[in-house]
């Protein structure tokens, strides 16, 4: 038996994409306990509602996270629309979901690349990020931005996408998916990849439920929850929405769920492009949120359920705005997966929950 040692891990560490600090209590290369600490990139964005009016704040909301930027502008807009009882044009709803699903593809591709990088498969990492470029190019052509899109606004969307352009997008995604399926084979079948992922960072369904895990992390442990299945917005017009879940609860299951969700997202985009109605995509917003009114909304971000709360005070500035991000839910589950794992698996375990700390701290 060795002595207990505490190893500080992060916030700067080559494998960490985000500033998370862990105090790892180690005995014989086994992690006994992991104590997480966040708070390195807090920017006080929620407080900014008192400085920026409710139409301008969408620009701030978008900057909460660099990966799910569109998702946050969408979640914020939906909350304000609920607060002010604004009906969004149908076409705008469809376009929002199309952009949101494209964001999911780009987020998951980025994560798969980072995962490949974490277990030392540089070639796979490059191929994932090469395919991700296709989505970023689509963003640039349709909105003008590659990461920060400024496409969503309260009441609708800023730009329209022509129907012919939408068809072109689907064709490009189809081509991308053919190549992506080759990568999928590597992630799901390659021996070296499996040896790094299978059985690593296991969390059971009960534990995942108790720790309130959300998103692909929860779904990989068998939790059947995804806000998309409740059919908010254009999701309600989908003929069928099947949850992608796994019961294995390990790193392999998490990468499998995310990898398959990319294909699902492409299918959703295809279906919506076929069904998209013509009509207006934006509207002029008048008035301010009523004093004392409040609204909540939920959205399935690439990392899981995100919860938004807004309260009006009768002026053009909000009284209060609050976000609960998926990573703040998943950190508890992550700590559980770390207990009892090898020291060498810690980076991989942290990565498999797809942490987004800058979202969490805002």
């Amino acid at each position: 038996m060795g002595n207990k040692t505490v190893i500080p891990f992060g916030p700067q560490h080559p494998v960490l994409p985000e500033p998370l600090h862990l105090d790892l209590v180690i005995e014989d290369e086994k992690v006994l306990e992991a104590i997480p600490q966040i708070g390195f990139v807090h920017r006080g964005l929620e407080k900014l509602v008192s400085k920026k009016d409710y139409m301008q704040f969408v620009l701030v909301a978008e900057r909460i996270c660099g990966i799910c930027a569109f998702g946050h502008s969408l979640g914020y807009s939906e909350t304000i629309e609920a607060l002010m009882k604004i009906e969004v044009p149908k076409r705008a709803e469809y376009l929002r979901v199309i952009w949101h699903e494209l964001s999911r593809i780009h987020s998951h591709m980025l994560w798969l690349g980072l995962l490949a990088d974490a277990f030392g498969y540089e070639n796979l990492f490059m191929q994932c990020w090469r395919l991700r470029e296709v989505v970023l190019d689509i963003f640039e052509e349709t909105t003008g931005g590659r990461v920060i899109l400024t496409a969503c606004n309260v009441g609708g969307v800023e730009q329209d996408i022509e129907n012919s352009e939408l068809k072109g997008i689907v064709e490009r995604l189809d081509k991308m998916i053919v190549e992506y399926k080759q990568l999928l084979k590597v992630f799901l079948k390659d021996r070296s990849v499996k040896s790094r992922l299978v059985g690593v960072g296991y969390i059971s369904k009960e534990d995942a439920f108790k720790a309130a895990c959300v998103g692909p992390f929860g779904r990989a442990s068998g939790l059947e929850e995804d806000i998309r299945m409740f059919g908010f917005g254009a999701y309600g017009d989908l003929a069928d929405f099947k949850l992608i879940t796994s019961n294995d609860g390990d790193g392999y299951a998490r990468s499998e769920v995310r990898a398959l969700e990319i294909i699902q997202s492409v299918d959703i985009i295809k279906e919506l492009v076929d069904k998209i109605p013509d009509g207006p995509y934006n509207q002029k917003i008048k008035g301010t949120p009523e004093a004392g009114s409040y609204a909540v909304s939920r959205l399935e971000q690439p990392r899981g359920e995100c919860y938004y709360f807004a309260k009006g005070n009768g002026t053009k500035f909000l009284e209060r705005f609050r976000i609960r991000t998926p990573t703040s839910q998943n950190v508890a589950g992550m700590v559980q997966t770390l207990q009892g794992c090898d020291l060498a698996d810690v980076p991989l375990n942290v990565l498999t929950i797809d942490p987004c700390i800058s979202c969490t701290e805002r």
Partner: protein, 148 residues
């Protein structure tokens, strides 16, 4: 189970042309929509200052007495707010990015001096406007006196 799944893709990549460009030898391509930089057509600008008020990052300064329009490109976040707000549609988002610089600087555009013809046209327009207002006022006065 298996290995060497990526071999086919790797061979393909060997014979394909590179995915990246040799910048700056090869110029970057921009899409029509790319948010590069804000350009102001100062001739049509009326220096109303609406763009200054709408800008969330306070990047624009409009100085009416000096007839200048100034933008701090390092503060601009390419959000389109000013382009949408401008009543004269004289602001435009150009697709190319501005050059990197070693120092923070602002770009100031001054309204050009009017040529003799333009000056005359402007004066004539102002005169006509003043006459129109005087006429309308006279008509209103006449109406008022009639009523009383």
């Amino acid at each position: 189970m298996g290995s060497f799944h990526l071999t086919k893709m790797s061979f393909k990549n060997l014979v394909k042309k590179p995915a990246t460009k040799m910048y700056p030898v090869v110029a970057p391509t921009y899409t029509k929509m790319t948010k590069g930089h804000i350009a102001c057509d100062i001739k049509t600008c009326i220096l109303c200052g609406i763009c200054e008020k709408r800008c969330p990052t306070y990047a624009i300064t409009v100085n009416k007495p000096d007839e200048t329009w100034t933008i701090n490109r390092f503060a601009c976040i390419q959000c389109y707010s000013c382009v949408r707000a401008c009543p004269k549609t004289c602001l435009d988002m150009k697709p190319d990015y501005t050059k990197a610089a070693t120092e923070m600087s602002t770009v100031t555009i001054k309204k050009p001096e009017l040529t003799a013809e333009e000056k005359a046209a402007k004066e004539a327009a102002e005169k006509e406007k003043a006459e129109r207002i005087a006429k309308a006022k006279a008509a209103k006065d006449a109406k008022d006196t009639k009523a009383t």
